[in-house]
């Protein structure tokens, strides 16, 4: 391996490749002002570069100017703000939403919000996200089916207002690396696609993947119980065969369609919404493990599901009318 042919700097023993790796901090550090001779970094060949060897005083890379505030997840605070203004009357006067237990949300750091999911086009996600963002000022990212990402226009708008495809790595990055609040519905389409007669009966919570993500990211799970979404858009009939043909999770006929006609596809009934944030659940396991005990994951998943189910029954016991609360 040929060395630099110029005169080596006095601090650098000539010929021996090993110490040159250590020479880098001396050259770039403050101890010794760099001379014209020592400016080009000496070859550090054959020496594994330690992590600390990154040049400390290196200039910032040229960053240019951003023209929008769309972040790495496609969320734009500007768009989200517009939606909050538009959605606020719906939240306040249509759903008359009430939220309790917000003190259970951590003021900082990541947390995985886990909620029940219902209604053919579910209103629970926007209600929860709106409630938390307006009350606490923290952004909420909502995990949803990959299918959204494949929809033109809808998928783009969805990601601008905080939607993220439900991929474990996305959730980990949001929770662990970026300390964000993430909302997930572990029932998925099994929750939203269920018949009205099964309202407030929680489906299976997937395979407990959400618990594993929370464990791996080292964040608490905050269970959330929502009442109102079942009545906002009840499914009265569905065709599994047609849905399969179209390649979508379910194809429902909702009561809204019968009342509002085609508008019923998107217009929910004015059901009274109540959101209850329950006490956070921590797991007492170290983060970033290769894998977690399956029994522990399933147990935690089941206990969180039970807590939400119990809270739902409690709220329903106190509810006099689906429309007036």
């Amino acid at each position: 391996m040929a060395q630099r042919s110029g005169t080596p700097p006095p601090s650098e023993p000539a010929g021996d490749a090993a110490p040159t790796g250590d020479a880098a901090p001396t050259v770039l550090g403050v101890a010794e002002p760099p001379t014209a001779e020592s400016l080009p970094a000496p070859s550090r060949a054959l020496v594994p570069v330690p992590a600390e060897a990154a040049p400390v005083a290196a200039p910032e890379p040229y960053a240019g100017h951003r023209r929008s505030d769309v972040d790495g997840w496609g969320r734009s605070e500007h768009m989200r703000g517009i939606l909050r203004r538009v959605y606020d009357p719906v939240y306040k006067y249509w759903f008359r939403a009430e939220v309790e237990g917000l003190e259970h949300l951590p003021a900082e750091g990541g947390a995985l919000l886990v909620s029940n999911h219902a209604g053919a086009v579910p209103s629970d996600a926007p209600v929860i996200m709106h409630a938390i963002e307006t009350e606490t000022g923290r952004a909420v990212y909502g995990l949803a089916e990959n299918l959204f990402r494949a929809m033109p226009v809808v998928g783009t708008l969805w990601s601008r207002v905080g939607g993220v495809a439900a991929n474990p790595d996305n959730a980990y990055r949001l929770l662990h690396d970026q300390d964000q609040l993430v909302l997930v519905f572990p029932e998925g389409t099994k929750g939203t696609g269920k018949h009205y007669s099964q309202r407030y009966q929680l489906r299976r919570f997937g395979r407990g993947g959400f618990v594993e993500i929370a464990m791996r990211s080292g964040v608490p799970v905050v269970p959330v119980a929502v009442v109102g979404s079942e009545e906002a858009m009840p499914i009265i009939w569905k065709s599994p065969r047609l849905a399969k043909l179209l390649g979508i999770p379910y194809l429902p006929v909702t009561a809204n369609m019968l009342v509002f006609g085609p508008l019923g596809v998107v217009a929910p009934f004015p059901a009274k919404f109540r959101v209850r944030v329950l006490e956070p659940v921590t797991f007492g396991v170290p983060p970033d493990q290769e894998r977690y005990s399956r029994s522990q994951v399933m147990e935690a998943s089941e206990s969180i599901r039970t807590r939400i189910q119990v809270a739902l029954y409690e709220m329903l016991r106190d509810r006099r009318s689906p429309w007036f609360g």
Binding site: A2, A45, V47, A63, G72, N146, G155, T156
Partner: protein
């Protein structure tokens, strides 16, 4: 260092060879390619080969190179037919790895320029890819399949030859004044194509950072796989805003078919993998290469902004690409003729441990 650069006739091969020539610790640079270099080179020796590099083992043995820089992989499928691409990417790399792993081979370092295409782009993929992520399905396009195949070869090569430092760099989409890619061609159009209703997040790396990253892997010991991309990612709409161009939407259904007539008319040059990118986008995690000490000159938005500046300059002064044609006789004359007086290299004492590492012939230097 004695370095072999494959794909000397490509943009990257030429740029890297120029950068290598400027270094004093690089003793010789040998370049192989199917066609002639497109950039002026001072002391690089060029050898023309067939597309599958079948004479590589002879070259390696005869020149005793210790480092191979494999920049020949084709990642832009619009450049050639699928068959030619397979020949260069897969068969070429197989021959290269075979030449480097023969018993008694002098090769101690191998740097391969791959692409983030290996990760794919679909709606079920994560938003940001790390180096350790494996693609769950077989890629749909030939260029992606070939790259995935090559990386598997390389993995085997690294396992069989633990004495060779293998560095695999996966680059994000490149932008720069001089390099032509499907994306940069699209951005040069009067109106920029998009897939209607989609606004993907894209990540770019500046061409100077590409050369810098390849040089860093060549001159420093960084074994392993690394993503190379500028910090941050931008929505396509914002990229077009920075460039200052309007967008026109391709239909979201049957996009490939809709793009076909435009391709035939040579209005756009959008292969399926680029259309998929314009639908779902792709970001890669660049922190690993930074952790081993590489420093980027540009972020993603900085790269786009510099590209926009280049476009504006081009609008005012026209194309400024210097034309260079490789002529073997001329190059040979300057390199080997006894009539040419070459600057005598400073007579540095031969370094201990490197017998016979005297600089033969005295390469001309400092005449940039």
């Amino acid at each position: 260092m004695r370095i072999l650069v494959t794909g000397l006739g490509t943009f990257w091969g030429g740029r890297v060879a120029q950068a290598l020539e400027a270094r004093d610790d690089v003793e010789i640079v040998i370049g192989v390619d199917t066609h002639e270099p497109r950039m002026p080179l001072e002391r690089t020796e060029f050898v023309q080969t067939d597309s599958s590099f079948s004479i590589l083992d002879r070259i390696v043995e005869a020149t005793q190179v210790d480092t191979i820089l494999h920049t020949h992989l084709v990642v832009d499928s619009t450049q050639m037919s699928g068959r030619a691409l397979h020949e260069i990417n897969v068969i070429g790399t197989m021959n290269l790895l075979a030449a480097a792993s023969r018993p008694g081979s002098p090769v101690r370092r191998m740097v391969v320029k791959s692409s983030a295409l290996v990760y794919g782009m679909s709606n079920s993929d994560p938003y940001v890819f790390r180096e350790d992520m494996v693609r769950p399905r077989t890629p749909p396009t030939g260029v992606e399949r070939s790259l995935v195949e090559i990386e598997a070869f390389l993995h085997d090569f690294a396992q069989d030859n633990p004495h060779v430092t293998v560095t695999l760099l996966r680059f994000a989409n490149v932008l720069g004044d001089d390099v032509e890619t499907p994306i940069s061609k699209a951005l040069r159009l009067p109106v920029v194509p998009e897939v209607f209703g989609f606004d993907p997040r894209l990540q770019f790396v500046h061409e100077d950072d590409v050369v810098g990253a390849l040089m860093y892997a060549t001159t420093d010991e960084v074994p392993g796989i690394y993503n190379v991309a500028g910090d941050g990612c931008l929505p396509w709409s914002e990229v077009c805003t920075i460039i200052g161009k309007r967008r026109v939407g391709l239909p979201p259904l049957f996009t490939n078919w809709a793009a076909e007539p435009l391709k035939l008319l040579r209005l756009v040059d959008l292969p399926p993998e680029t259309l998929a990118l314009l639908r779902y986008g792709r970001c890669i995690d660049n922190s690993r290469y930074k952790r081993v000490g590489f420093h980027y000159e540009y972020t993603t938005s900085g790269t786009v902004e510099t590209f926009a500046q280049g476009l504006r300059l081009g609008r005012s002064v026209g194309e400024t690409h210097p034309t260079y044609r490789y002529r073997r006789e001329v190059e040979d004359f300057f390199r080997h003729s006894p009539a040419v007086i070459r600057p005598v290299p400073e007579m540095a004492a031969p370094l201990p441990g490197t017998p016979g590492a005297t600089i033969r012939g005295g390469p001309p230097r400092g005449t940039e």
